[in-house]
Subunit: 92 residues, 4 copies
DNA sequence: ACTGAAGGCTGCCCGC
DNA sequence: GCGGGCAGCCTTCAGT
């Protein structure tokens, strides 16, 4: 085992984890600032979370549709198959 | 309610969250790199976690675990313990 | 494709998943009970997890951790280690 | 610390965890059975997961609407407030 | 200080 | 045997 290599890897990880923690701390400060300006932090968190979800949802739906299309295989060209796919797409 | 102020706050938060996600991704890459160099990632994570706690806390935790385990009596007297021992023997 | 057969299979699965969820809920309750009786839940979970692994695996894991930690050299030589030591001193 | 009490608690937990593992094993068997009957296990898992999600979604949306209504407070009776609530409800 | 909830992370299981 | 996907665990956060 190469000790130096391991040591370097661990140190890089710890450095990055510190940066991550610092950023998390900055985020907390912003929420505190928002609160002191009269905003509802709980709602703000929900808004941020929803916006994140919405972005993910698109990619997600596409994956689902691909899965269904693949599962249907040749059926995808039949009226019934297309109806199923259309239904899935409407969910977007 | 000041809409512009709210918008600015949300944007600052989202910017920071993106940075945080990027760093998390970097960390994952380093573990992947470590793995490809033959290191045991699971162990590395444990080592990193241990180093985060100070030595005092670590010692206390160990003591507590020992206390609890002692209170349970020897492993061999429990059904699950016996199953584990049997399994270990089969592996030999 | 036999629709009824599929339906039956799905229903059996969902029935079992419900049972599983109920049991998980029971387990949570026991931990809550333990906590209200003054036990340290976090430690209990660690003890339970350790008992799941057989002794051999546990010993190997410990050895590896020691090996990795030794490779990193003394904690005191790293920035994070120094921070931890400082923090520990402040707590005294 | 009451050793017997701790021991009893741990044993109850371990008993339940075993039951849970057994059920998980049963579920696996059903999927295997389905597969041998020509069903696409991957799709089945998605179907089961989606049905679970759908159930959660309703409760989830309600929570969100309640949160917004509470945040709007008296505003909920104004046209603008009602528009916001309606928008949230449409998401159902 | 405790509780309940939300998000991120780890370990597991499957398919390749 | 490996990597991706998914469920469960742990930690953190707002509220009481």
């Amino acid at each position: 085992m190469n000790n130096n290599q391991l040591k370097t890897l661990i140190e890089r990880i710890e450095r990055l984890e510190k940066e991550k923690a610092d950023i998390a701390s900055d985020i907390k400060e912003i929420y505190a600032e928002a609160k002191s300006n009269g905003f509802d932090v709980k709602i703000m968190r929900k808004v941020v979370a929803n916006r994140k979800k919405d972005e993910k949802a698109l990619a997600e739906e596409k994956t689902l549709i691909n899965t269904y299309e693949a599962a249907l295989g040749p059926l995808a060209t039949t009226p019934l198959g297309q109806a199923a796919i259309k239904k899935a797409k409407n969910a977007e």
